[in-house]
Symmetry: C2
Subunit: 413 residues, 2 copies
């Protein structure tokens, strides 16, 4: 008998018919003798509907109250799925965050989980019940409802799997697993059979939306085996876990593309110690995330400082940069609203030399100029002109992942 | 500085525009210096929408989970109103039942309130906040969500007003107060300025839908002054409180009509002790409420037993009666699916003789036959043929309430 945590996303419970299908799937697992905890998202579209109601009442809805509002989406899904499972003859109880003491800090809209009390879940499972948990929500020290950020029902599932020491945490979504690249852009993208936590974290951080970065981090910390699979098919999905020897034999596991980046250059800055801190300190304080940074040393003691930020933060970052440019007597501030960040990820890079060189060669062969480069142990990212983003991704995928890997082809699944 | 509890029903918060209007009204009271606790129902139609979703998943949705589902309706209203009040510049916090420890028993769908902890509300008010509370819901000893029954947001408001020793509990609805009769049936119906708890309870029990019976009972027990008024106008509404001398001078305060009653007769029953208990015991056990009962003693030692039940219970009651009729060798069971119960209510009946005689005379003058009669200290009810119900109501209203009373005419408000 295994203990399985399953998480179903918004499209998976997006209609009455879909909820019935999910119930059938859960019921089959339970009928097979396993214990099941199900975490659900709000029905697709519901969270947006609620935010739109709030937007009609306030330009900036109070965060505490916005959380009270949108948390109802998951509550409705949990109750409906429990009602269906009961109707199928499976004793089921639903739980909200405050009933499980899913404790978070008080940062409404983006709260961090502090602890989970598994006792009520363990009781319910021991009594032979299926437990259905409303995802995405928590409760702060005052007893107020918090939410964990968009897409954070994954996080709820992983946290519960960790607390329950579950045998697996299955993340059900509308795609069949983790792919070597976005199949909408790379027709030859293939589903990965297995991938390590580290690679998955890089890919999630780089814009592959199948799993939320924080969820993978948490899964790695507590060694929770994740399975990403589709609730619309019986295909096996992708297993995400600790790396093993065989994984290192694969040089590149995936190619990602992030088209949501802007580039800012502060030109003609006096090249002296402490300047980067002076520039990036206020930006960090304003809660904006700077991604890649390069600095070109120059002969005359002045330098250009270039960095990328998310496009949502462009306007705010520009304002700060212009203020600072004046203060530090820089020559000026330039920006490009949209650039493309293309990355390759793979454990094998640690041991295979020459991956970067091959990457740059592929791009050169396509005539694509590289604007910025950043590397980590298992990742190389380049920034290119936005219009070449998809071409770069396809070219890199087909050159580095085109033949032989642990993935099955997208068309065959 | 007064402490006011205001309750807004489903039509009062039925749209974004209506929520804005309610927020303006609440804000005006707060701006005047009073402390305000607002209790809200679900937006009109929302509870039915949720029940319909559940009905698509189960023929008899599990009561615990149905409560988790429908409680979201009030949660959404509370959050939206709080968001609007914040946007208007009034510090506001919303509360759900579990946050106020609004403790109930575990009878899901129809739970009874056991206690309320006012401390969080008192804190919020002391801090200068407006408190918005989701009505209709409670929390049972296990920490599970319960609901208090249809229309029970009134009950939440009265319970909070009692716990807070509020100066008034204002019930906002889509009518302007308590009327001497249903204005849709009696064009000459007038709004009452004041009415006693006892009269209001009789009228609520008799089908006047403006206030829920349990709420008036609770208000009387804790001496909470109620005001029933419209959220769509500035009219003064009806005050419901302890009786005073002036109220007794009014002989009849209102006329009610309940067309939702059925009549059952068990004919030819042996007239011996214990028979009524034998017949009505099983009906009560099945949760059906028997209203009026009459028994005609007869010369030959056999009797006819006639009683009324709500039409929803007719089928079930008939089945039980047929079983029992066979057991006790009664001659047979007859029924009438729809009868009309017309009642007059007034404190003055205690001291004014001859009201019953006047009532019977009015009906006789209209040629309406009386099938059953029941009286209490401040009420007289008669059952008549369903087709004469509205006529009987109009005739009684105009004869007994036509001239001079403490009411203002419906047309003038």
């Amino acid at each position: 008998m295994a203990l399985i945590v399953q998480k179903y996303g918004g499209t998976s419970v997006g209609s009455i018919e879909r909820i019935k299908a999910v119930a059938e799937r859960v019921a089959r697992v339970r009928a097979g003798g396993d214990q099941v905890v199900v975490v659900v998202s709000a029905m697709a579209g519901e969270t947006n509907r609620l935010f739109k109601l709030a937007a009609q009442l306030s330009d900036s809805p109070h965060p505490r109250e916005a959380d009270v509002l949108v948390a109802t989406g998951e509550q409705v899904s949990a109750a409906l799925l429990a009602i269906r499972l009961q109707a199928l003859g499976y004793p089921t109880v639903s739980f909200l965050a405050h009933q499980l003491r899913l404790a978070t800090d008080s940062r409404h809209g983006n709260a961090k989980i502090r602890s989970v009390e598994a006792s009520r879940l363990i009781e319910a499972l021991a009594a032979g019940h299926i437990a259905v948990v409303a995802g995405y929500q928590g409760v702060d020290p005052k007893g107020d409802i918090t939410t964990l950020g968009r897409g954070a029902s994954d996080l709820t599932a992983v946290a519960l799997a960790a607390a329950l020491k579950a045998d697996a945490c299955e993340i059900y979504t509308d795609v069949e697993g983790v792919f070597t690249a976005d199949p909408n852009i790379c027709p030859r993208a293939r589903k990965l059979g297995r991938i390590s936590y580290d690679e998955m974290m890089e890919m999630a951080g780089l814009g592959a939306k199948v799993l939320q970065l924080r969820s993978v981090e948490l899964a790695r910390r507590y060694n929770v085996p994740l399975v990403v699979r589709s609730s619309f098919s019986e295909a096996a999905g992708t297993w995400v876990g600790q790396e093993d020897k065989s994984m290192e034999e694969v040089m590149v596991s995936g190619v990602t593309l992030d088209q949501n980046q802007s580039k800012i250059t502060i030109a003609g800055v006096a090249d002296r110690p402490g300047l980067a801190a002076r520039i990036f300190g206020p930006i960090a304080e304003a809660g904006m995330v700077v991604d890649m940074i390069i600095q070109n040393a120059s002969a005359d003691g002045r330098t250009d400082l270039t960095f990328t930020v998310g496009r949502d933060d462009l306007r705010g970052a520009l304002e700060l940069c212009r203020l600072m440019a004046a203060e530090i007597s820089a020559a000026g501030v330039r920006h490009e609203e949209q650039v493309a960040k293309v990355s390759i990820v793979g454990l094998g890079m640690r041991t295979h030399a020459g991956v970067a060189a091959r990457m740059f060669r592929v791009l050169a062969d396509e005539g694509i100029n590289i604007q910025m480069i950043a590397t980590s142990e298992i990742k190389i990212s380049v920034v290119v002109n936005a219009k070449y983003g998809e071409l770069a991704m396809r070219a890199l995928h087909d050159a580095l992942l085109g033949k032989g890997s642990n993935a099955t082809s997208a068309e065959s699944v």
